[in-house]
């Protein structure tokens, strides 16, 4: 690609970037000596304080899909994008903290698949471990690909250079310090994102005349698209029907698909985030981890979605911040109505370049780089753990000395990064990274929450029930995707490859309904097969199932410090946010 880069960096920008990487590598180096056993490497020796695991819990998910994808969705859908947080993530985070952490942490499982092994059986664990391992490599590869492409476009850096250098840095600090190193760098990256994006939002709002000015401009933008005046600035307006809101989803699909199935599937069962809580130094710290994460999480829409909305407000029909999407021929792409298609993924980065002078520009771009890299590192640490404990130790070499598994963890780190690089080169040609990832999550994660919920709260659920429920849930998701199509798409990756039985108003609606179908299939099949097979005796399920486990005793803890009190505050705040931006 011989495009002219959008901007170039000066010495101060490079100096800011260099200082950040010195600290990142320094952390890895400093932790190298204390990483002596496989438990240190994969579980941080279960020794971290809750504020660290909490911010890492949030930050592990804060990769490319979050910062770039949420900005893109902000420009595409407006404040309704915040449903991913206020309707989706927060309730799920509260649930995992209060109801699921006692089993994850209390069972002393070293990974989420290992919990499935303890609760159900080996085959359920293996199915989950393999699908999860594939997904982490894929996510990490997408993150690298997006980064390479973005920095090529913005700064003219070569794709190979960005991918290889970032891979080497991530490899160096994860190899040296394992999970602790990844977690520490995730927390560092959290502060970089917060401090890199807060001034962007401040300057952006100043530019458009504050929230009032933003609302006025977006009301105009909504009118040109034929939407209701408040479509971009109200999260709940027009949600009664798919045709009257920019998401193209009706409230039921949103609440059940995103709010219940997808978000609970991700935040409650994805080992990438749960691994952070499992590294906490005590049960109470593990339960507080998702709650601590929820507080900044509910404010993140203002940091990552607002820049997209501001970019849209500053983009008129004659161009502006968000550039047109280019076809392979080099001409701007047009939609069916003849309007220019905007490249929403560039909304946030272009705003950064437009508003930040040199110096701050270095800080903003470093924050972006940091988010790409910690997204990669999070996936790699989850991958090396699942590979070593759930695949290698349980199927390939069972009773090796601990040093061997530590060695294997480091080898898996190298292997995982090599596979991610390969995936980065394979990935491509997708409009919105977020929607592709949501699609993958819908296939793999949606049935998962059903399996965990049944496993934790219904002692009659059996291993055969869980396995076949999970397998049929994933197949159900694929079948549903193959038989439906979003409005205006051609059959293929978007769905409909088995024939089109139903057309959804938008891709998002289709994704949410795929999740609902997967979840329902998994519940029904798991229950039917469980009732036909022999349950495990109660004695074996102590600590693994709700009704057979002692409840955590919080009476000794001062009222204000109890997880339940904290959780109530979080829920009240998120309801308030929904009401303010209704």
């Amino acid at each position: 690609m011989d495009l002219v880069p959008v901007t170039h960096l000066t010495a101060i920008d490079y100096a800011v970037m260099a200082v950040y990487f010195v600290f990142v590598l320094g952390i890895g180096f400093a932790l190298r000596r204390s990483t002596k056993s496989s438990s240190d490497f994969f579980q941080s020796g279960r020794s971290l304080p809750p504020w660290v695991t909490g911010l890492a819990f949030l930050s592990a998910n804060l990769g490319a899909q979050e910062v770039i994808g949420m900005g893109a969705s902000g420009a595409k859908y407006g404040i309704a994008t915040a449903h991913f947080y206020w309707m989706g993530a927060i309730p799920a985070m509260v649930f995992v903290a209060l109801f699921m952490m006692p089993f994850y942490y209390g069972s002393r499982a070293r990974s989420v698949p290992e919990y499935l092994k303890l609760r159900f059986d080996e085959k359920t664990r293996t199915l989950n471990a393999i699908s999860f391992a594939v997904m982490t490599v894929f996510s990490s590869g997408i993150s690298m690909y997006a980064m390479g492409k973005l920095f090529n476009l913005l700064l003219g850096w070569s794709f190979d250079f960005s991918v290889l250098v970032s891979a080497v840095i991530v490899l160096a600090y994860v190899f040296a310090g394992g999970l602790t190193s990844a977690i520490y760098n995730e927390v560092l990256q959290f502060f970089m994102i917060a401090f890199g994006f807060a001034p962007l939002v401040f300057l952006g709002l100043k530019n458009v005349g504050g929230w009032a000015g933003l609302t006025a401009r977006l009301t105009e933008a909504a009118a040109t698209k034929g939407l209701a005046p408040g479509a971009y600035t109200h999260a709940w307006q027009g949600m009664a029907s798919a045709s009257t809101n920019p998401l193209g989803v009706e409230w039921f699909g949103l609440v059940m698909g995103l709010g219940f199935v997808l978000s609970f599937g991700y935040w409650c069962t994805d080992f990438l985030v749960v691994q952070r809580a499992m590294a906490a130094d005590s049960m109470i710290a593990a339960r507080r981890t998702p709650l601590i994460a929820a507080v900044p999480k509910m404010l993140f829409p203002f940091l990552v979605i607002l820049p997209g909305m501001i970019a849209l407000a500053l983009t008129g029909s004659d161009g502006g911040i968000i550039p047109a999407k280019m076809a392979a021929s080099g001409a701007p792409m047009l939609d069916a109505a003849g309007n220019v298609v905007m490249d929403f993924d560039l909304a946030t980065p272009m705003l950064l370049i437009k508003l930040f002078p040199e110096g701050m520009l270095g800080l903003g771009l470093t924050a972006l780089l940091a988010s790409f890299m910690s997204g990669m590192a999070g996936n790699v640490t989850a991958f090396n753990t699942v590979w070593t404990y759930d695949i290698y130790q349980s199927h390939i070499r069972k009773n090796a000395p601990d040093e061997h598994y530590l060695w294997m963890g480091r080898a898996a780190t190298v292997g995982g990064i090599a596979l991610s690089i390969a995936a980065a080169y394979v990935a491509g040609a997708f409009n919105n990274i977020m929607e592709v990832l949501q699609l993958v999550f819908a296939f793999v994660n949606a049935p998962l929450f059903a399996t965990f919920a049944l496993g934790m709260f219904w002692k009659r659920a059996t291993g055969h029930g869980a396995f076949w429920g999970l397998a049929s849930g994933m197949s159900g998701a694929m079948l549903h995707h193959g038989l439906t199509l979003p409005n205006g798409s051609a059959p293929g990756i978007k769905g409909g490859f088995l024939g089109v039985l139903h057309t959804y108003p938008s891709e998002m609606a289709q994704t949410f309904w795929t999740a609902i179908v997967a979840f329902s299939t998994c519940v029904v099949v798991s229950i039917v097969i469980s009732l036909m097979t022999v349950p495990r005796p109660d004695a074996e399920l102590k600590g693994l199932v709700y009704s057979l486990t002692e409840k955590p005793q919080d009476q000794g803890i001062p009222f204000l410090q109890r997880p339940a009190t904290f959780a109530t505050g979080v829920i009240a705040a998120v309801i308030a946010l929904n009401l303010i931006f209704r």
């Binding site: 240190d40 437009k354 930040f356």
Partner: protein
């Protein structure tokens, strides 16, 4: 298991923010008279202001780390 984490995370966060804060604020001071450069940021010397904010944040983290170390 070695258990005890060997590095207080507040130290590198504090160190990074102090370093970046000094760099940005210093750069803001040097370039303060260059009005053309700050047209982008609506006439605000964002390097100076934000550099100072980051410096203060960094100092707070270092102070917390020091207090934590003193407590043992």
């Amino acid at each position: 298991m070695s258990g005890e984490a060997s590095l207080d995370l507040r130290l590198p966060i504090g160190g990074l923010f102090v370093t970046l804060g000094i760099m940005l604020a210093g750069y803001g001071l040097v370039t303060g008279s260059n009005t053309e450069m700050y047209v982008k940021s609506a006439g605000i010397n964002i390097n100076l202001i934000w550099g100072v904010v980051m410096l203060i944040t960094g100092v707070i983290f270092l102070a917390l780390a020091k207090r934590g170390a003193a407590r043992g």
